[in-house]
Amino acid sequence: MKKVNLTIDGQHVSVPEGTTILDAARKLHLDIPTLCYLKLEKVNYLNSVASCRICVVEVEGRNNLPPACATPVMEGMQVTTNSRRVLTSRRKNLELIISNHPFDCLVCSKSTDCELQSLVWEFGINTQRYKGERSTHPIDKSSGALKRDPSKCIMCRRCETMCNDVQTVGALTAFGRGFRTVVAPAEMMPIAQSNCTYCGQCVSVCPTAALTGVGYIHETWTALFNPKKHVVVQVAPAVRVAIGEEFGMPVGQIVTGKLVAGLRRLGFSAVFDTTFGADLTIVEEGKEIMERLEKNENLPILTSCCPGWINFLNCHFPKLRYMVSTCKSPQQMTGAMVKTYYAKKMGIDPRDIVVVSVMPCIAKKYESALPSEQTYGIRDVDLVLTTRELAKMFKEGSVDLRHMPEEEFDSPLGQSTGAGVIFGSTGGVLEAALRTVYEKATGKELTDVNFTSIRGLQASREASIDLNGRTVRVVAVSGLGNTRKILEKIESGEEKYDVIEIMACPGGCVNGGGQPYAAERDDVIEQRIRGLYHIDRNQTLRVSHHNPAIQAVYQEFLGEAGSEIAHEILHVEHLMED
């Protein structure tokens, strides 16, 4: 590629044509401050709307100050990144942005995680220079999952880029004109009336608290302090490789044992593992896969673990709904088993049990509240906390995760296999399903359970497996934009698959909207995934149906996979609420 030569702050640099001034400067280790700009290469995300005008620089021969993030370099360009004019303008623009932002940092849920706050601190701004009208908008918690506080929106448009370009959901757009402009669902309708999937990727990229999850910390404490309630907790696989970050531990560090110990300290009566539900899902879904393959109907089968994806299916591809597995998600299966099997075993009225789940996800909050996600009229899961919320509860409840001992999950819903753990990564559900389906269909034991070709961060990874002479074509895809591409090919008949795993978040649950905020997210996703496969590799049991707890559940309670009672408790028609 053609190289372009330029100087930045007097230093010469040569970069490929099309490079932005910002990237060229970074090559020289010149850290031009940014606010709205965000690039996540691994998930194909680029927000360069250049709306904040914080990264402006001076270019010789140009009258105005162009934004470094959106201005391509030109041969012979002379750029200055720190002249008086540049610094004054940046500061002024930041002062203008905060002048239309509520000064409630002390009681803001994003405090210390807020990129606006950090930038103000870095700039050393310590007075409110402009006092004038602030645009105020009502808070929208209509979905029970995603919380919109548009008064905190700084119009960086990151959420919009994520929602429209990467996820292709199109639930968010700039609305209105002038000073009152704000990012909102169409016509400023409540988000619950939009086609939002609650994937929460907008939350991950929002620099302020304009988009967060609806919090359930208070409700969880209230349940824990209620002596009449038996409060149990389940933890999703992706949480154990992420929550350490909130306590300053290395990214991707596995903290399963400490997490269990911490949850006990908070007062949960039992600490269960969602990976148990994952193993159960595999046994049920494995049965479904085999049946459909045998009859050669309703193929491809689409996984149903991810509620963000299910919402996307309902809104954007309703005609393909018949393809989706009827299995509840691992969260809901675990909850359902707590309120039936466990309740019976313990002799507790399920109405006195509160199931709290800790999820890397925003959509799980929505899923748990769906009327269809109940068993015998009782909600399977009562409260859903994100990884971030649990970290806050730990801190409030005197739990320093770093110094917790290693403890084991409670039985019977705490035992799991490596197959259940890798559910937290894209490709994990499919790999887990293949391990079980292969063994059950062929009657042979796998010598190597690793299906490495479907791992990784590429948009989609596929494989062909020989099952008793039938070639089964499978694919794992993450990110809803990538999902759209595959589903369009299926709708048009261009591609034929037998099994498709779909995760709404690029990279899978490790990159969910409820995970700790991360600046260098590209690396973080990979590290967390590495952690999950590390757990899997070191597990003795790595195939779901080998899980003795699962075997016991079928023996004592469910009978066999796909039985009538299993259908009553563990399966559902996945329809989004209108």
């Binding site: 709306s51 391509p72 303008s89 209105g176 002038g178 000073f179 402009t181």
Partner: protein, 624 residues
């Protein structure tokens, strides 16, 4: 009208139709033909000009004179102050402020008897003389109609009349040239974009030409949005065919086969005339496939805008056509590289396009001979505000402000004193009296803190408060900012708040400093032209009328007596005779006093409406 397939057929059509204009052009005709043109522009239309035409037609029919006399609407004559205008040929008698009720008299006297109806003629305000011909009226004497050449001459709904002016012959000529020759000719003419920034049209075409692509687009920017501006609307209402021909020529030059006219939905008359013109151009083969057997294909669609000012910015306009939010994008890439749907696109303004056919008709050298060294041709201005002759004027570049305002505009209303002329709309600035003799062109206007803009010109007198004017423009910008970038979205709002504080007596010295400082950042760092030029009205008024700002801030006084919160109405004891007139007129009842005794105003209740002052016959009410 049958399809015209070749240049020869076009010339035949011209020969066939050119007689249609003879009466109007004063070309001697043997018979006793008469032609009545009634302005059909929006302003006159609103004053019932269509009824005037209908009334004439009724009388013509009643008298059985259809063969000899015709009445028709025409495009805008420009003298909107005196509308509706009726012009009667062959004498070319120019009647002003005609009402439908005046038609029988006009018909009887002027048409049948050849007697002028003096009371409906224009009266020169200084000489107090009636003027029968427009050439004798000062408003028209210094004007030179190039872009508006057909407005007020032809019926815009009849393509035959356009062909009679030599219409489409430029297209025919261009189609026999190579695109490179067409661009060269345009560059030679020196035409610069009339939408505001003044970018050389030929160079714009060349950029788009050089970006090779199978598909390219020509867009006509008809999203005229400056307050008080109506140049483009008038051209489209009066001569849509010129715009169409200009677009076709541009398309041939850059290699496009598709064009869009982006026009605001608030211009229904212009939209309907444009629709008619496109339909007619298609029918006669000037739009469509293989135009004049040259192998060149071109057609035009209309896209209606919802009235956002920012959609006049070319990238915002393109987004709007694409069905996206009308907000500007980063440049580069420029539209000529990657415009509508990612395809090389040129966006030319209506007035620019209307100039194009005549440039090829009369030659680049002719056009280049008009105007100044850097700004060629003419410019249309919508003259408005405190000037006697409000209307649409077209003058050669280089004409001075004084000539426009005093000679053409007839000076300041009510003999008030001139204070300032605002050009360039919300992006422009206010020009003070000392620059009245500046010859108008792109560079000279920029050098005195204003800009050419699209051609709005608002004249202000000593009864206008310049701080309040600056506040008005800022209010407009805050309303019309797309909200994308922070300096424009928030910065302009903060400037508006400071200006409001100043006009309401809460201003302080630091505010003046802050205004300048904010203005610099907004101009330096805003994303698009709207933001970058938004502080101009404030900066120029601060530069030339700082005394007014200081009076507001230091003395809580509005020298022009406009800013209500700073006004105080008081009754002078020595003049008040106690007639009670003021008290009876006060809408809030805040004036008290017995008959024949001194009256007083309760300042806490006064709403500063000024009614008392107008009612007092003894000049006892004073405004401070």
């Amino acid at each position: 009208m049958p399809e015209i397939k070749t240049t020869t057929e076009l010339l035949e059509a011209y020969e066939q139709f050119k007689g249609l204009l003879n009466t109007r052009l004063g070309i001697a005709v043997s018979d006793e033909s008469q032609m009545i043109l009634v302005c059909g522009g929006t302003g006159c239309h609103a004053s019932q000009s269509n009824k005037i035409v209908n009334e004439f037609n009724r009388l013509i029919k009643e008298h059985g004179l259809e063969d000899r006399i015709q009445a028709s609407i025409s495009g805008c004559f420009g003298f909107c102050e005196k509308g509706p205008i009726v012009k009667i040929f062959p004498e070319g008698v120019f009647y002003v402020q005609v009402k439908p009720g005046d038609v029988p008299e006009l018909f009887e006297e002027q048409i049948l008897k050849g007697q002028k109806v003096t009371r409906l003629l224009y009266e020169d305000p200084t000489l107090k003389q009636k003027k029968a011909n427009s050439e004798d009226i000062n408003f028209y004497r210094l004007q030179q109609r190039v872009a508006l050449r057909n407005c007020g001459l032809i019926n815009p709904e009849k393509v035959e009349e356009y062909i009679a002016t030599g219409g489409f012959q430029s297209l025919a000529k261009v189609l026999s040239m190579t695109p490179a020759e067409v661009i060269e000719e345009m560059k030679k003419s020196g035409l610069r974009g009339r939408g505001g920034a003044g970018f050389p049209t030929g160079r714009k075409w060349e950029f788009a030409r050089n970006h090779v692509n199978d598909e390219k687009f020509v867009i006509c920017n008809a999203d005229e949005g400056d307050p008080g501006a109506f140049m483009d609307r008038s051209i489209m209402e009066g001569d849509s065919h010129s715009v169409i021909e200009g677009m076709a020529i541009a398309a041939y030059a850059i290699g496009a086969s598709r064009g869009y006219v982006y026009i605001r939905a608030e211009y229904p008359l212009a939209v309907s005339r444009l629709e008619i013109a496109i339909e007619q151009a298609r029918a006669c083969g000037m739009l469509g496939r293989n135009i004049l057997q040259s192998g060149f294909n071109f057609d035009i669609d209309i896209r209606l805008g919802a009235g956002a000012f920012v959609c006049g910015e070319e990238t915002a306009l393109i987004h709007s056509i694409e069905g996206r939010r009308g907000e500007p994008g980063n440049k580069p890439p420029f539209p000529a590289q990657s415009g509508l749907w990612g395809v090389p696109t040129i966006v030319n303004n209506v007035e620019t396009l209307a100039n194009i056919p005549i440039i090829y008709q009369k030659g680049a050298d002719w056009f280049n001979s008009l105007g100044t060294k850097t700004s060629k041709g003419t410019k249309v201005f919508a003259l408005a505000g405190k000037v006697n002759n409000v209307g649409l004027v077209e003058v050669p570049m280089g004409t001075t402000l004084r000539e426009i305002i005093y000679d053409i505009g007839g000076g300041i209303k009510n003999n008030a004193r001139f204070k300032s002329a605002q050009t360039g709309g919300p992006s422009g600035g206010c020009i003070p009296e000392q620059y009245l003799d500046t010859p108008i062109d792109y560079e000279s206007l920029s050098s005195i803190g204003s800009m050419m803009g699209s051609g709005g010109m608002i004249v202000m007198s000593d009864q206008d408060c310049m701080v309040n004017i600056a506040r008005f423009y800022m209010e407009f910008i805050v309303e019309e900012s797309c909200g994308r970038c922070a300096p424009c979205r928030v910065g302009n709002k903060r400037m508006l708040e400071i200006l409001t504080d100043i006009t309401e007596g809460r201003g302080c010295e630091e505010d003046l400093f802050e205004l300048r400082s904010l203005a610099t950042t907004i101009a330096d760092t805003s994303l698009c032209g709207l933001g970058q030029t938004a502080p101009n009205p404030v900066l120029s008024t601060m530069k030339y009328f700082m005394d007014e700002y200081e009076a507001h801030v230091h003395d809580s006084r509005c020298p022009a007596g406009v800013c209500q919160k700073l006004l105080k109405y008081e009754i002078a004891a020595e003049k008040c005779i106690g007639c009670t007139s003021c008290a009876r007129g006060c809408p809030v009842g805040c004036i008290s006093g017995q008959v024949k005794q001194l009256h007083t105003i309760d300042q806490t209740k006064c709403i500063k409406c000024g009614v008392c002052m107008t009612r007092c016959k003894f000049s006892a009410v004073v405004r401070n």
